[in-house]
């Protein structure tokens, strides 16, 4: 018999279900992801650090967990809520169940929850704090616990502590790791880049010392305003190197250029979000995972212009710098999980890098 578990939301809603993964208690911001596949990538995406994730698709674990599809070394979610955890997993690459993975990393999960009801609550009230527990503690005291503020140091927790290299023979790219998914690294390596991954608190000078051809600002968890040092770093090097920001990296670029960000009601999380590229009028289906967004109005007096918008709610999904070779997108061109439709952005970045390098060389030659 499976142990009972509860999911308690700060508004007092209690879901009773069955425990899977680790037992115990875990608190976080409750968010939903609408992807049908990709739970392994979601679990291991550092951007979910501090969050309890519910999957809207009711069967989770059908194809198991394999050793290849992790987006980082380990899962970072603070809890996992599903309608049904499939004990039987079937796929040629599958090595273990979601249950055993969560146990290995001491992450509690709860199944047999009306996840659609939960999703509707989040949609109506916005993201809520919540807690998964296998204890019998009364709801009142659990609600008391939920009054504690959410963590703000997620980036420090998930970023690499030391620089490391993923050597290649192509352009030298510094990847600032705010909680980077392997997907970004994979895309750069696929294109032959010589990648140096640096911690989130890297300084502009440290970057200069590497003499990169371009800089990539990664995705990451939480509020971009929680990493002010990175904003200053970006301000310093902007214009010195071509720059490409993804997700949190995109928000940080915006903040660095004087724009503002805000927290969204319940964010965008899933693999089916349409984004319109304003220059071409083309719409792309994108993979997204963000709870914050760049405020449109705040861009007015900056050097940034909107390159992409979300088709459905019109929020900012992409920015281009008017003067410098810098651009960013709010969504995930590296996919994993989600569609590969936007991987051309990596090509675009590397084209910019190549052009910039050439121009710089020409400039040096004329000097």
């Amino acid at each position: 018999m499976k142990k009972q578990a509860r999911l308690v939301l700060e508004d007092g809603t209690v879901f009773t279900g069955k425990s899977f993964g680790a037992q115990g208690e875990s608190l976080g911001e409750v968010v939903f992801n609408t992807g049908i596949t990709g739970y392994q990538e979601v679990l291991s995406d550092p951007s979910y650090c501090g969050q309890i994730v519910t999957m809207t698709y009711p069967l989770i674990g059908n194809y198991g967990i394999n050793r290849d599809d992790f987006e980082t070394m380990r899962p970072f979610v603070h809890g996992f809520v599903v309608r049904e955890h499939c004990e039987v997993h079937s796929n040629w690459r599958s090595e273990q169940t979601v249950d055993s993975l969560l146990k290995e990393y001491n992450i509690p999960g709860i199944e047999e929850v009306d996840t659609r009801k939960l999703t509707r609550i989040i949609r109506q009230h916005g993201t809520l704090k919540g807690l998964i527990t296998t204890s019998d503690e009364p709801v009142e005291s659990l609600l008391e616990k939920l009054k504690a503020p959410l963590m703000e140091d997620q980036v420090a927790r998930v970023s690499t502590k030391n620089m490391f290299a993923a050597p290649g023979r192509g352009s030298k790219i510094v990847l600032v790791d705010f909680g980077a998914k392997y997907g970004i690294l994979r895309e750069l390596i696929k294109r032959g880049c010589d990648v140096i991954v640096v911690p989130y608190n890297v300084t502009a000078d440290e970057i200069r010392r590497i003499r990169p051809d371009g800089i990539m600002l990664s995705n990451g968890p939480g509020d971009p305003k929680n990493v002010p040092k990175a904003i200053r770093m970006i301000q310093e090097i902007l214009g010195e190197y071509p720059l490409f920001g993804i997700c949190l990296g995109h928000q940080l670029l915006a903040l660095a250029c004087g724009a503002d960000t805000h927290k969204m009601k319940f964010g965008h999380r899933g693999g089916n979000h349409p984004v319109k590229e304003l220059a071409t009028g083309r719409t792309y289906i994108t993979s997204q995972n963000h709870g914050y967004a760049v405020s449109k109005e705040s861009l007015t007096d900056t050097d940034l212009e909107i390159s992409h918008i979300a088709l459905n709610d019109g929020t900012v999904e992409g920015l281009t710098h008017k003067k410098y070779p810098a651009f960013s997108v709010q969504y995930h061109p590296e996919a994993a999980p989600g569609p590969y439709d936007s991987d051309y952005l990596f090509d675009r970045f590397l084209e910019q890098v190549a052009k910039f390098t050439k121009e710089e060389k020409n400039y040096a030659a004329t000097r």
């Binding site: 609408t34 596949t37 394999n66 796929n91």
Partner: protein
Amino acid sequence: MPRLDNIKKILVIGSGPIVIGQAAEFDYAGTQACQALKEEGFEVILVNSNPATIMTDTNMADKVYIEPLTKGFLARIIRQEKPDGLLATLGGQTGLNLAMELHEAGILEEENVTLLGTNLEAIKKAEDREQFRALMQEIGEPVPPSDIIHTVEEALAFAEEIGYPIIVRPAYTLGGTGGGIASNEEELREIVASGLKYSPIHQCLVEKSIAGFKEIEYEVMRDANDNAIVVCNMENVDPVGIHTGDSIVVAPSQTLSDREYHMLRSASLKIIRALNIQGGCNVQLALDPDSFQYYVIEVNPRVSRSSALASKATGYPIAKMAAKIAVGYTLDELKNPVTQQTYACFEPTLDYIVTKIPRWPFDKFTSANRKLGTQMKATGEVMAIGRTFEESLHKAVRSLEIGLHSLDLPEAKELSQEELERRLIKADDERLFLVMEGLRRGITEQKIHEWTKIDSFFLAKFKNIVRFETEMAEAAKEGALSSDMLRQAKRMGFTDRRIAEVTGIPVADIEAKRKEAGIVPVYKMVDTCAAEFEAATPYYYSTYEEEDERVDSGKPRVIVLGSGPIRIGQGIEFDYSTVHAVWALKEMGYEAVIINNNPETVSTDFSTSDRLYFEPLYIEDVLHIIEKEKPEGVIVQFGGQTAINLAAGLEKAGVKILGTDLASIDAAEDREKFEKLLRSLDIAQPPGQTVTSIEAAVEAAASLGYPVLVRPSYVLGGRAMEIVYNEQELLTYMREAVKVNPEHPVLVDTYLMGAEVEVDAISDGENVLIPGIMEHIERAGVHSGDSIAVYPTQTISQSLKDELVDMTTRIARGLHIKGLLNIQFVIHKNKAYVLEVNPRSSRTVPFLSKITNIPMANIATKVILGATIPELGYEPGYQKETEHVSVKVPVFSFAKLRRVDTTLGPEMKSTGEVMGRDKTLAKALYKGLLASGMSIPTHGSLLVTIADKDKEEAKDLIKGFNRLGFKLLATEGTAKFLEAEGMRVTRVRKVNEASPNMLDIIRKGEASFVINTLTKGKTPERDGFRIRRESVENGVVCLTSLDTARALLKVLEAITFTAESMPGFEAPQSKEAYVHG
């Protein structure tokens, strides 16, 4: 991009009659397209030969043509209407082929008609095997390696290179005759040798076999601005090797990781971009279960059965969006009609599991080859939605209406282990249940996987059902069936009845215990977005969870029960009536609620009703909805026998049945009650008896006199019905075709030879409105659904007509009918006898509504809710007949069903119908026969094999063909007879004689028509059978009823100019003539 402004008038081509492989899904697609185009202000001209469709209603388009879907008729319509655009991608393969023909004949160019949507070049590239392969190679998408070979050596060389197994497909043989899968050299030699022999051009295609791969489909859309999306992906539970139309399919895919999902998604999008698709498209892929290797199987550059399924599975209306794309819109400027706030350019996400199960016709065609393979055999399908796989599967099974409410097929228990293994390896229609039986017997999932190649995910889920049944049984034994367990059972989709069965606890107790514990279903919405956005669609499914999302408007509401999956005997006609009932309810200010489970239909389009419940038409599920909805009542008379069969259960539960009540339904269906009623009304019916033993049957037949019509009393719709001509045949029938005992009586009726007449009427209890009387071309004895119906009648005298009207009125009153009724009469020796009364909407309602312009289902609905016929502005009685003659011609799918005898009889065999309408009967018949797919050459040869009993009758008929210049071919017996009648006949050899015999003649296309009548009764007559099958397989018209042949002759006479020599001079015979001359 806004809509094209150079286009004002658009011609839409429908898909014609329902045949296997092309069913109601195109009515759904066409209806959506017409609505979408009208919404945009275009003038819509529609052409379709199928009168049973919603799309051919005059309010669906500005002008509707129900004419044959041939190049000739299309060209005529185009010249007459001068449309600017042609939309052909919503009319199935029929629509595409016609567009191609019109283009090739230069008609589109000549009349300046633009083909909208996907262009012809793209269609050609997708459809032409070679062009498609070349394109795939060009864009680097893998297709299974293949080669065209002419010798065994070439085949071996190919195998050397590719490896086994290899599929061999002989060129130009029907149904893959002579082909097969070779897994080693020996088999390959054998199969190729036979394949080369069968192929008329001595050529075979050899291809790497990917049987056993996962079969995955993507429904994709693309617009002119290159925006491309995936609406839905689906996984076949049955791996590659079984046609997707015959496979159990789930949406979304269950066993694909994100990488695999997106790898195949990317491939699909790449393909539709390379093809330059503008609209909807279906991509079928095969994925190796053990690697990332995949192959592109096929692309359909149009909406399809799968897209209808995807639309219902996701809520995303593909056909509607495809129509808008065709007129220039792009996906990002179209709103998602479900949320009405987000855009159509997104990918729906599901938060439930959808299961589709095909519905096969093998209950009707017991002799058919039930093996499943690459040729689709299903006539229809059901879909079910659940929050667990088990729930979804259970719901789908009980939607099928095959007498099962669980995954337990009792007959499977009888199978020997060997038989079970054999049938698991070679899949047939019952494989799902045999897998369950295997698991129940303890055969390991591993073993079953080896035999079936079904993914272990699905097998584990199946096993879970078996395991849980055992657990429940054990718990019950210990008296410990907890409410937790009950909740779990309901979450897995078990019915109360099944729980009762496995636990031995009475079903009432289970229900009471469940309700006490508060275990009742909730209704969740299908909203395309997994609740991320608020949705406006009233599209629901049941499940056992916490939150119910149904919004109550407080308005009075009425539930209409749909008709479930399309099957032989219950086709799209019933969906037509259901939809009209819903519309009528809305007109009257009621909230119209519909329950149905057929994903192909218009009735399950969420924009049809005020609320759609996509649920099994099973009593428990229906009652649950009624509990929630608390309707004014339920209408059961539009959903065919499906809905009628639920009436008793509903009434028992205290539900109000609107319209004709249960007692009246019963009086029409129960033979004894019905006889009593007719006697009291002094209305004749063929004399008959009910017997419960073989001896009694013999006695009864002797006293009634042969021939007699025999049928079991417990099945409806002509199943197992036969005409027997002597005692020998009767005994064979009683012993082999039915089981007779006191519980299962058999009806023995006098078979009255004569014309069959059919009447549809609406009664408000007092006034009876009779829109029309139809006469059948084929005499009684051929199922009414397989007969050509003619309106108005051609041979019925006015006095007899008056009598039919009077009888109909009295029966309607006598049965207290409120709503529709259908009566079949036989006219024997100028007297009318009642054969059957159906207290419900019939197959002919759409046909009759269209030709008489009396909206029968609409009027009936209003009557059911209390209006009287005069109040609705109609005069009771027989309505004035129209000047045009209309015929309804049945269409069969015999080519798809091997080993099925094509001879017409009391059992229905047709899958669809077409209509022909013109000023004379001959012209109407010509159109009808042409529309039904018959080729009507005006010269050639007629091959006749006539039974002795029919020879006298056939004489003049054959003479008629001869007179038109048809050469007569006949075997010895028939030839002698015809020669004695003064005809010139070429003798041909019998089937069992040396080649070239009759079969060779048919095969070589040397006979334009074949007339073959059954030797006697239904004794297996192998020669006749082979002649009929050979004709079907070679596309030769084979007529088994002299009545049909006579109709054809009438047509030929009308369209043929006879060449006659001038009469010679003769002496004047009268004085006047002399004077005058």
